[in-house]
């Protein structure tokens, strides 16, 4: 039995039965990281000694009432704050910054006894779809080191995929959990906006940012969501709704297939893979229905106007005075930002400043907000006749490292199928099919329960544990 391959809900049972010790589990995961991570580059910071020490402490308190995350080694995306640890966001501008406090999600995981193994690599400030723009270098796909792992939570996805953590946390603004989960063959859940506190998440686009789990299966995703969700007075957009994750029957479920997510030029491998998934669901559900979401065609442009607009405001705080890097000069502010930020971050800051500037605001930003409304209204109408929407996660398969990083427009197109749910604040679950192709289930607000139930049905149907 290879411990690093098992979903953690099974490891939890083994720990309770004392068939394995927490130290044994943590040791096995550390060994895996030491074997593989030099190639994959999933971890930016790794804390094996602390993890083993914590494992030894937790060992003494194992009984049959321990929470499901007790003693489970997990990884955290390096844009989520952990007190006393670096918070770099993969950027030179925060290279030496140590966080003075922990994010709410970190406190909640620690309360459950989770062991934090390290912080994972990402696209600089979570702005990217391939995890190639980090100051620590690109994350490589664990199944083929020549390919990207997807982004921006590429490190979080890769380490779970190769067994370097039992689960991880990522952040999803326009697809940053779902895309790397799909590329690395694991499960990624973007929760309903507001369900999980953003307190302690380095802000990129505040009205879109969410924190969510990347796991080996849907049961683990549900357990992680239960642990991190819930109202937080430190986040003004936090909601009081509780996530429901008890799996239920899918017999009454109606699934919608939106035609806009299957354009004529979609890679036939992706079309075939998703059609096979649809065939698995077909006999078990109440109805399969073709639907139309015409606003989808505007969603990508809307997202890439709104998100940079918010980013340009959020990243104004990096001024060479309060955080991280400071280049002393007669123009410290400009010099620090110019040397501290990478090309993609600068591109989005300038793009965001542009769309918010006088004369262009109405022409771009205002219309983008209207696009957001159209997309949200279309989903709302669609959910009157279907319960869940099924789509591919991305219009592309994992691509070779270095091929799209110099073509930003093509890179943005990788997010075409993930940004609509982000704009509407809806929950979306990404599940792997094969060869870096994944499918996405989008549900109404707070319907994580239904998404996980469908996801679990799929996993059982194909024999995945």
């Amino acid at each position: 039995m290879e411990l690093t391959r098992l979903p953690f809900y099974q490891l939890h049972k083994l720990i309770i039965k004392k068939e394995i010790s927490i130290s044994e589990l943590v040791g096995a995961v550390i060994k895996k990281v030491e074997e593989i991570d030099d190639t994959v580059n999933g971890y930016s910071f790794f804390y094996p000694e602390e993890a083993l020490e914590q494992a030894g402490q937790l060992e003494k308190n194992v009984d049959d009432k321990i929470p499901p995350l007790f003693g489970i080694p997990i990884a955290i995306k390096d844009n989520i704050a952990i007190e006393g640890k670096p918070l770099t966001c993969g950027s030179r501008i925060l290279k030496n910054f140590i966080s003075p406090y922990s994010a709410t999600v970190i406190n909640r995981l620690k309360e459950q006894g989770a062991i934090i193994l390290g912080k994972t690599n990402l696209d600089e400030f979570a702005m990217g779809s391939s995890s190639e723009t980090s100051i620590f270098g690109p994350v490589r796909n664990p199944f083929n080191e020549k390919l990207v792992a997807g982004g921006s939570s590429g490190g979080s996805a890769a380490v779970v995929a190769y067994g370097g953590a039992c689960a991880s946390l990522g952040s999803d603004t326009g697809g940053s959990i779902r895309l790397p989960a799909s590329f690395c063959g694991i499960v990624g859940l973007k929760p309903t906006y507001g369900l999980v506190s953003r307190y302690g998440l380095a802000a990129y686009a505040s009205s879109l940012d969410t924190i969510g789990p990347l796991t080996r299966n849907t049961i683990d995703a549900g357990i992680m969501l239960q642990a991190i969700a819930g109202f937080d007075p430190n986040d003004s957009t936090s909601l009081t709704a509780h996530p429901k994750t008890i799996l239920k029957s899918i017999k009454d479920c109606r699934i919608g297939i939106p035609e806009e997510y299957f354009p004529d030029d979609l890679n036939p491998e992706i079309t075939d893979a998703i059609n096979n998934v649809i065939e698995i669901f077909k006999p078990e559900i109440k109805e399969l229905k073709k639907i139309s979401l015409p606003g989808t065609g505007y969603a990508l442009a809307g997202y890439y106007l709104i998100a940079p607009a918010e980013a340009s405001s959020n990243l104004a705080r990096y001024d060479g005075v309060r955080y991280g890097l400071r280049i002393a000069d007669n123009n410290t502010y400009v010099k620090t930002r110019d040397e501290g930020f990478g090309t993609e971050v600068k591109r989005r800051i300038i793009l965001g400043t542009f769309v918010l500037s006088r004369g262009y605001y109405e022409q771009y930003y205002n219309v983008a907000q209207q696009v957001r409304n159209v997309v949200g209204d279309e989903f709302k109408k669609a959910f009157n006749c279907v319960d869940v929407i099924l789509t591919p996660v991305a219009p592309v398969k994992p691509f070779p490292i270095g091929t799209l990083v110099k073509d930003p427009l093509m890179m943005y197109h990788c997010d075409s199928f993930t940004v609509p749910a982000s704009l509407a604040g809806l929950p979306a679950l990404a599940l792997p099919v094969k060869d870096g192709i994944g499918f996405q289930l989008i549900g109404p607000w707070f319907q994580e329960e239904l998404l996980l139930s469908l996801g679990r049905f799929y996993e059982k149907s194909i024999g995945r544990i």
């Binding site: 809900y9 939890h12 049972k13 009432k65 929470p67 499901p68 459950q112 507001g194 009205s207 049961i219 357990i223 239960q226 642990a227 109202f231 007075p233 909601l239 009081t240 509780h242 008890i246 799996l247 029957s249 505007y298 442009a301 890439y304 340009s312 502010y333 400009v334 930002r337 110019d338 930020f341 090309t343 600068k346 591109r347 800051i349 300038i350 793009l351 965001g352 400043t353 542009f354 500037s357 004369g359 262009y360 109405e362 022409q363 771009y364 205002n366 219309v367 983008a368 907000q369 209207q370 696009v371 957001r372 409304n373 159209v374 949200g376 209204d377 709302k380 930003p408 427009l409 604040g425």
Partner: protein, 88 residues
């Protein structure tokens, strides 16, 4: 709607506003290409659309006046098999 002309000078001014150095010519050309590709959203018929953004979320329904107790009953989360389904 007034259409503003987009040129290198505009991008230089914007970079200055964003407290960044004047970008290279290639960077500017790429950026102009990206912005131009986003002009498609102006084809959207916006006359009848609410411009406030996310107006379809009634936040008041989701937030009470004071926070609720949000502790989770952890022992009930241990997965088990029930009628052929794995639940937790």
């Amino acid at each position: 709607m007034k259409k503003n002309r987009l040129c290198r000078k505009t991008i230089e001014e914007i970079a200055n506003l964003a407290k960044l150095k004047t970008p290279s010519e290639q960077f500017t050309e790429e950026l102009i290409k990206i912005i131009k590709s986003f002009e498609l959203i102006q084809n959207l018929d916006t006359k009848k659309i609410d411009s406030r953004g996310l107006s379809f979320i009634d936040i008041r329904q989701l937030r009470p006046d004071k926070p609720e107790h949000t502790d989770i009953d952890l022992p009930t989360l241990t997965p088990f098999i029930h009628k052929g389904f794995i639940v937790f």
